[in-house]
Symmetry: C2
Subunit: 187 residues, 2 copies
Amino acid sequence: MKKSLGPQCLLFPTPVLLIGSYDQEQKPNLMTAAWGGICCSKPPCLAVSLREATYSFSAIVKRKAFTVGVPGKHQVKEADYIGTVSGRKVNKFAETGFTPVKSDLVDAPYADEVVFVLECTLLHTLEIGLHTLFVGEIIDAKSDTSVLKDDGSPDIMKIDPIIYDPAHQGYHGIGPFLGKAFSIGRK
Amino acid sequence: MKKSLGPQCLLFPTPVLLIGSYDQEQKPNLMTAAWGGICCSKPPCLAVSLREATYSFSAIVKRKAFTVGVPGKHQVKEADYIGTVSGRKVNKFAETGFTPVKSDLVDAPYADEVVFVLECTLLHTLEIGLHTLFVGEIIDAKSDTSVLKDDGSPDIMKIDPIIYDPAHQGYHGIGPFLGKAFSIGRK
């Protein structure tokens, strides 16, 4: 029997994403977002939703670009901190010790210490309510060579991403491999 | 040093979602989606992207409603199977043994055996490319009482959601608790 919980923002899992952008003074900034995900295979696109009140919002609208970094479990404190302060007041790169790297493809920075990053140009914006959905076209995915498998693709266990639990505002790690997709369910 | 992987659809984690809809004959159907996530807090909304070629696409456009179920680790075979066949040819509820339940709030079904479900009405559609993004307003979240904590909110460890790894098309479980959000990163 199911119990009604009301109209709540609950989903399992949600990601922990570090969104990189430049402000008007070219100061690099990061924000933490859990409201996001892949939204198209061709062209490869990612959606992330921001409140208009955030410092990153206007930066992304002006530069029409952003990066999406996937922090690892060992960076959970930095990822959380980045989500609790505003780039209006703080230089989050300086505070976390993260090194800003200017993307060579889009007008946005990312943190060198974050092993996996997507470089995106702003393709669409869709105002929904408190949040506006930004669709970014993935111009490139970049990965530290240390987290690549022999086949050249990133190893999710080496990236060791963080999972956000919106029900109890907690962070979790990734669990063990369960099986191959498009395979384990075939009879 | 980061290596360029090209414009690829990679993100960690992505979810495994069972999207429920009715076709024209009122036959309940499910599809598996990994391209989705929460996209607005107020009103609470979820985005999920579908290819126009899927059977669910036209069903959702016509009914203006869908459900989003979060299968547990023990249902990984069913979730995978549902992503490998079309509702045009197969009754996926019958094949998996899942029991269709008609939502009392939106014109769409969900699987009774899936412990957590969102009931959504279609609020926006945004054509991106191969995929079209559907924004659903979450009218209700429903959860089996067996996965609720004492505070009445779902326990992510009891839901035991599946994580999809798009880099190697694999499924993973959820890992251990790492810390409290808006807390662990405060100095």
